[in-house]
Amino acid sequence: MISILGSTAIAAAAVSSLAGLIFLLRGRGRGDQRLIDRGHRAVIALFVAVTAAVVALEVALIGVDFSVRYVAANINRATPLLFRIIGLWGALEGSILLWAWVLAGYAALVAVRYRGRHQETVPLALAVLLGITSFFLLLMLGPANPFGRLSPAPPDGRGLNPLLANHPLMAVHPPFLYLGYVGFAVPYAFAVAALLSRTLRDEWMTVTRRWTVAAWSFLGVGIILGAWWSYEVLGWGGYWAWDPVENAAFMPWLVATAFLHSVMVQERRQLLRLWNHALIIVTFLLTIFGTFLTRSGILGSVHDFTQSLIGPLFLIFIGAVLVFSVGVLLLRRDEVRDTGSLPAYVSRESLFLLNNVVLLAIAATIFVGTTFPLLAEAVAGVKLTVGPPFFNRLTVPLAMALLVLMATATLLPWGPAPRGALRRFVGPGLLSAALVAVLSVAGVRGLTLGALAVIIFAAAAQLAEFHRGARAMGRAEGRPYPLALVALFSANRRRYAGYLAHLGLALVLAGVAASSAYRTESDHTVSRGEAFSVPGYLLRYDGAALSRHPDKLVVAAAVSILPPTALEAVPSRPAAAVPALATLYPSERLYPQQRTPIPTPAVRSTWRGDLYLVLLAVGPDGAVVLKVITNPLVPWIWTGGLLMALAGLISIWPGRRG
């Protein structure tokens, strides 16, 4: 029953999508406003239909209707409600449905928001969005049907992949990722529409600026939450493995970041018009490519991938989008003219160009590293691995170069640098020199010290700009400093939100640098009541307990954190008598759908870093093997990443001056 409803909804969505496409293109061609209005209504109908399909799948998931193959394959009766709901994005077909739903939602927002405005571009942009949606609907009508049926329905389902059912972050990470990924379709659609309709000025960019920043922020949140999830669930104490799935999300974010900067050069100097079109096209292509990488099964093996139609269909779609976009770009190449000029060799504008080069070089490096094993296997039949060492060695120097550019471009004004511009470097320079000296005394050495020096300088440059602006405003308007700071921010939200995002980046990289250089890891076999120490902590194992849950068995070891000097003060004191500061419960979880138990780490965070415990094994005598990782500054990564995304949203929040 639900299957029929769902399939009907998807068919209705496909009809709306195609009808809308025809209405919009015809209406625009004939200048027929009634047809265009009908097209707008078709977009709304599309959204309603895809929403109905999502609701149908959710009803099947929540109601454990195993006559739907997707439900039977991905959840079972023991799956808790939250994880039944998020089963929507637990596997391929549901993810495609989510993609289509988000895209239809964006299209509907565009249709509502721009009804009767921007007559030249909006119908075309909507048509482009409908074209993309049609592809995903086609996938669902064919090889990725989320409503395929099983007859007879099995008594129980297979259950969600335990790694996905193990942490509530799985409830928020994919939706944010998709909001980001799919959000870039809007600026892409407007860019293409601007080219096609020859409204070649900068209108599309200002129209879509908010959409682009929103997509960038959501994608940033998605990436950070994904890293956090992997840290909290996978149990190796790391957050980023340069896995193709991670790279797939990171690449469009990098190119979009380049776009957000070079767009400012276009707005100010009427330069880089063609370049910015190209950047947004590349960003969008990368989001499709990322969906292809993660959803076609190509990562498992190049050979698996031909077993289903989905991979080849995706490749054809990517090829079509590529040919279409590049074709449109080439067609209008001579008409998209730069009319402005640069005022000086050394200026913020020039630094933004270099920023673009570095960001794209990072993205290209990741692209080459991610696709190389696939190409080597497909073309030369050679099996190769491109792992973290490659990515780290090449992207870390580029990231440092990026930070230097970021600091310099923040301190230099637009246009020719005035006399005395160099003086702005003194404050942040001194501040960071002092901090670096402190770090050096604390024992930080070598490349880590160098990296931290660059990071601190980049952060100090942002703070200096806040300070300089607030002081000037305080003087000019006679306000006290804190109020001046607030006034400065709200008067110039876009600019200072940008600096806030830079600060977030500095926090992220400080966390990455410190946790890469000063992570410690050790394995300990301990019996009950035994105390043991790791760098910075005194720990005691207090015994293990088993608990049964409807969907899993959990064996948790209680590990107490003791005051670090508790045993030194009274050497004869038994460890068991020391009161604990806190207790952590790393566990092993056994899910019926999985043969091997899943170690689930326990993490204690402070601003200085994390204590990360993994239960490796439990012996029959109650002794356990624990992996203990100390990981400095890791919480800075989450804080910084979320700060960046928040800064993006602050900059576009509707307000008096927008």
Binding site: L342, P416, A545, E588, R657
Partner: protein
Amino acid sequence: MAGTARLAGLFAVIVLVAAASPAPALARSSGLDEQVRAIASRLRCPVCQNESVADSPSELAAQMRALIRTKLEEGESTETIVAYFISRYGEWILLDPPRQGLGWVLWSAPAVILVVGLAAAVRFIRRRVRPASTEAGAREDWDG
């Protein structure tokens, strides 16, 4: 209570079989630990998706770490040990692809991209600079 203990025992057996990480001795040279980790983090865990032997919780990775340890204790050099794993699994086992043959394409591509990009940016800047211009766009506190 007794039932729980029996369940715990049962579960412990499963955990032991699955994790099968040979319980590491408490006292041992941390230098050896680091050598094992250094080698293990260069190798790909053959049964995982994109995890190193050092980081993977899988049984096979644990066995490989134990093997590396044994070989180190027998006095084999890092390169001999790595070569042993290459001979068994192929170059695919290396997380860092070799810098030869096809590998060169990979390692040089980013540098080529960076150089081409920088050259293009410098060329663009040189062609576009008209130092005299001080148009309206150059206001300092502009806000879009």
